[in-house]
Symmetry: C2
Subunit: 191 residues, 2 copies
Amino acid sequence: MLDKVYTALVHYPVLGRDGRIITTAVTNLDIHDIARSSRTYNVKKYYVVTHLPAQQDIVKKVLGYWTEGFGKGYNPNRSDALSIVELKSYVEDVIAEIEKNERQRPIIMFTSARIRPNTITYEEGRHIILNDPRPVLLLFGTGWGMPKELEEMCDYSLEPVRGKSDFNHLSVRAAVAIILDRLIGEAVLEK
Amino acid sequence: MLDKVYTALVHYPVLGRDGRIITTAVTNLDIHDIARSSRTYNVKKYYVVTHLPAQQDIVKKVLGYWTEGFGKGYNPNRSDALSIVELKSYVEDVIAEIEKNERQRPIIMFTSARIRPNTITYEEGRHIILNDPRPVLLLFGTGWGMPKELEEMCDYSLEPVRGKSDFNHLSVRAAVAIILDRLIGEAVLEK
């Protein structure tokens, strides 16, 4: 449902340059940009997923500055956007929280460079978001992609963005924006 | 035409918080993200527009590192993306260069939060890009918007993205990605 869409940015477990499992560093602008895009498309919560305490401290510091500290008064819009950000240690915690709040397990989607048995088009993904009563969690990886264990937790894989182009290296910030726009577009909640 | 699309990110003249003309600072990630999005959508050149010598030095340093320095070997994809970035002092220089290279003045489009006499839909913008033989320049502002003098240089104003949403504060990086996707989508050049 349009009022139950969630996003999550995963920093562990993700693939490194050599295909091994790594933890990526949290990037300040990933918090800001994806929060602003998520808020603009009426996403209910944007989860930043990292299990490292030092990295969690960075996330807390950014959120504190903008939602309680100086930033709140300086830029209320930014504060509004960051108010939907939530820190979690693992993807399992994200799913458990959504399940608890919505009393239903979310449908989980991610994007993949490959076509898989569970690949759907953006049109199909949009249909699910607009019509299925269950919540939808959009999972985004950092680093060099998502490991098999995360892929297998997902119900659907979305087609690659610009799969036919000779160059396809969008930043995760750009990819999230485009995917939210393709799935939700100009659809807004009726108040 | 699909093979003659240009993007430009303008740091001067733009509006400040109080509506006066300012110069904004160049942001490293604006260079990277918008170059990657532009390259992914087959944009011919991405112009970073700033007239301040100290800011131009920052742009040159970033480009040098990734297209000639250490970064070139470390991440060839990034080098590929940044190879389409060009530094210009003023929007007039951008238009003059495109006009010289293409032997035609570009059609200039920008996005606006307001509906204007020259506002077109993304569908109409897409039709122009796919069918009009002239080059197309997409102008993106930083800061709090574009001043009247820049707006008046534009042939078309694109509808606001998520104009009906109760919150509409995308980063310029996200806005460029979404607008390129709406205008170009999966269309690719025939080689």
